[in-house]
């Protein structure tokens, strides 16, 4: 991810190539059973096949659920986090629920969402949303509670009221906290979408994975894993660019 200089990036690429070459060779000479560990060339062929057409509606379904869930989770987390930090009464109600939701592996809610919302997009969206929302809620809530008191006093002595404080101190401070959790949120959103598809669905990468598993198709499973990894890494790169832009005051 951070291989900005040629040296480390080159070494990492080389290491990956060597690993793939060893794997391929072991398959070719028969030390690895292609049923369990199909060689990279076979996985690559499956990926090419998928990219020929079948992949895109599934990728589209998963990406839609993940990205919409990310957006909804961010929005809900930010609004609830701000509200709870500014209204102590609301915090008393919300905090126990959020702590509970934070403590459990939230993917266990997937079957419930399927019962409530059906096997379509809505249940995946809901799972991705709640995974992200709880994470972001705490980022915002803590971000506001732990805002630098000195900055609040500075702005107050310069004559700033509530509105100025929110704009100049609270929002930038919370932005820093949210951006610090943004990559984790991207990962959570994909987890929610794919796990939701595992549980019950008719399309999506999770559905394909489920299908690959039920047919003992290791090559397809590996191909899908590589595709999901690639897509998430792409989103990570975008998130990193957004982070560097929004938090450029940190990078001197």
């Amino acid at each position: 991810m951070t291989g900005t200089t040629a040296g480390p990036a080159f070494r990492r690429a080389t290491a990956l190539m060597v690993l793939l070459a060893v794997w391929e060779s072991l398959s070719r000479i028969g030390w690895l059973d292609p049923f369990y560990a199909p060689p990279p060339s076979a996985v690559g062929r499956v990926m090419l096949d998928l990219a020929g057409g079948e992949l895109w509606p599934h990728l589209g379904a998963t990406a839609t659920a993940a990205i919409a869930g990310l957006a909804a989770g961010l929005a809900i987390g930010i609004v609830l986090g701000f509200a709870a930090a500014l209204l102590p009464r609301l915090a008393e109600l919300l905090e126990p629920v959020m702590i509970l939701l934070n403590a459990i592996p939230r993917v266990i809610l997937a079957p419930l969402f399927v019962i409530w919302l059906g096997i379509g997009l809505a249940s995946k969206l809901a799972l991705a949303t709640i995974l992200v929302a709880v994470l972001i809620f705490f980022a915002v809530f803590n971000g506001i509670k732990e805002v630098d008191r000195r900055l609040v006093e500075r702005v107050r002595t310069l004559g700033g009221g509530h509105r100025v404080l929110v704009r100049e101190v609270y929002v930038p401070s919370v932005t820093a906290w949210v951006m610090g959790n943004f990559k984790v949120a991207v990962g959570f959103a994909f987890t929610g979408a794919v796990v939701g598809e595992f549980v019950a669905s008719s399309r999506g990468l999770g559905y394909l994975l489920q299908f690959a598993q039920s047919t003992y198709n290791a090559a397809l499973t590996l191909a899908l894993i590589v595709i999901i990894m690639t897509f998430v890494l792409l989103l990570f790169a975008l998130a990193g660019r957004l982070e560097r832009r929004l938090l450029r005051w940190r990078f001197s």
């Binding site: 630098d148 000195r150 900055l151 006093e153 500075r154 702005v155 107050r156 002595t157 310069l158 004559g159 700033g160 100025v164 100049e168 101190v169 930038p172 932005t175 820093a176 938090l247 450029r248 005051w249 940190r250 001197s252």
Partner: protein
């Protein structure tokens, strides 16, 4: 108390401040006349900062009154640390107070640049605080306060964290500004030399808890002043000695008091019992 001071911009009477336990300061009286530079010295932890915080409304006093001859918005407060908004550039930080006062953005930016230039930071407007040195951040903080053209400037050990050379230079620059604009200043410091070089009068706060005002001395050194030359002035040495005695005498009596309070059998040697406070020199002489 100071009949010849034409107008008192800051008039504090009977001020007590506490945080639950016994008051850290009690019954504080303090006046700062228009155009006067007053330094407040005292042992650390004696509540000097609390006085400034009460004046700006950041702290509620237990008792006492603060009368201001200026509006709250005309007070500039220079804090001890140089905490600027880290996500705003130097220019945005300086312009912040102006923007709060509804100065149009372009005008506020232009004035911010002017003050940055004045304080030797021309071309640094687009830097973030993380990209500036400690001295540069302090200058931005000064520009932020001076850009609002305050009539009353409160400073809380503003230069404590700077090295000696930068400190002397910035003190001189600030002094030039104060003298040019006839600014009224209350400076909290624990640096006796800084207090003498900069002020018209030095007020000494005693030991806490229940710290009271111990003395107030006029500084008979003519203005405009040069920080380094002021230390060569004949009045400098004796006043430094007086302030030193004020502070250390406070120490001795505090030790004596604590020994008496713990019921120690070893009574302090004679002469350390707190007598009447030293004579308070009138600080009208040099006005």
């Amino acid at each position: 108390m100071h009949p010849t001071v034409p107008k008192t911009l800051l008039h504090i009477r009977g001020l007590s401040v506490g945080f639950g336990g016994p008051p850290i300061i009690e019954g504080i009286d303090l006046d700062v006349g228009a155009g006067q530079f007053v330094s407040l010295i005292g042992p650390s932890g004696s509540g000097k900062t609390s006085i400034l915080r009460v004046v700006t409304g950041l702290l509620e006093p237990l008792q006492g009154t603060v009368e201001l001859g200026v509006a709250l918005g005309e007070i500039g407060f220079l804090f001890q640390d140089d905490a600027l908004l880290p996500w705003r550039t130097a220019r945005q930080n300086v312009a912040l107070g102006l923007r709060i006062r509804d100065v149009p953005p372009a005008d506020a930016d232009a004035r911010a640049d002017h003050w940055l230039t004045t304080l030797g930071l021309a071309g640094y407007g687009d830097r973030f605080p993380a990209q500036l040195s400690g001295g540069q951040r302090k200058r931005v903080a000064i520009a932020q306060v001076l850009a609002l053209r305050p009539r009353l400037l409160l400073m809380d050990e503003p230069f404590a964290a700077l090295d000696a050379i930068v400190r002397t230079r910035i003190t001189q620059e600030l002094l030039d500004w104060v003298e040019r604009d006839r600014l009224t200043v209350l400076l909290v410091t624990h640096d006796l030399e800084e207090a003498i070089c900069a002020s018209d009068a030095v007020a000494v706060l005693g030991h806490g808890p229940r710290a009271a005002m111990r003395a107030r001395h006029a500084v008979d050194i003519p203005r405009p002043r040069d920080v380094l030359d002021a230390k060569q002035h004949p009045a400098f040495g004796p006043l430094l000695r007086t302030l030193w005695n004020d502070l250390t005498e406070g120490n001795a009596s505090a030790r004596a008091a604590s020994r008496a309070a713990t019921g120690g059998t070893s009574s302090p040697p004679g002469g350390t019992v707190e007598g009447p406070p030293p004579p308070v020199a009138s600080d009208e002489a040099n006005r």
